[in-house]
Symmetry: C2
Subunit: 117 residues, 2 copies
Amino acid sequence: MKVSTISEHPQHDVTMEGAANTRMRMLIGPDDGAESFHMRHFEIAPGGHTPHHAHDYEHEIVVLHGTGVARSDEGDRPMSPGTVLWIPANEKHQMRNTGAEPLEVICLIPAPHNCTS
Amino acid sequence: MKVSTISEHPQHDVTMEGAANTRMRMLIGPDDGAESFHMRHFEIAPGGHTPHHAHDYEHEIVVLHGTGVARSDEGDRPMSPGTVLWIPANEKHQMRNTGAEPLEVICLIPAPHNCTS
């Protein structure tokens, strides 16, 4: 068993095109031996956002802190602590911080997609 | 995209032998079409615990609320909001609520293990 805290994991800027003011921590990833899926933490500053894009793998997301919107084919969906998002593969999506506090989410992806969004 | 809140998902008692005062919500599971891994929410009442057991699949866990301990081969490890647990397959483990508030965690498992702990 590996025990850690979110805050002790190093935080990296998300430099992917279309991202703004977003930082990521890999909480449980390939370096831990996680072979099925990976847990990441994203912190989006007020006004920041992830890319508006689609890819061939899914996201499972739960919001920890802050407020924002999830941009989807059905319009903007509100996000706040306790919001759960299921984004199937190949569906276009984006998270935007529309509040005054950092928007923090846990976002999981299947292995081996060790990417930054 | 499916958007929900933790609280709107039905909560079921965990009836597995060795569990006490523990309830589970399936947040993203097979009914949603999640084929790689599943997100669940566990709420362990004060004094309650999950089974002390091992199984052939891993857990990825993040604590949302409350305090407790994760029982491991290396002893009891403290849990509080923001604690991250990586429990590899076949490693014995248990979560116990040692505090006065409900202990709430997000716990993910690979599909197709649609079980209750």
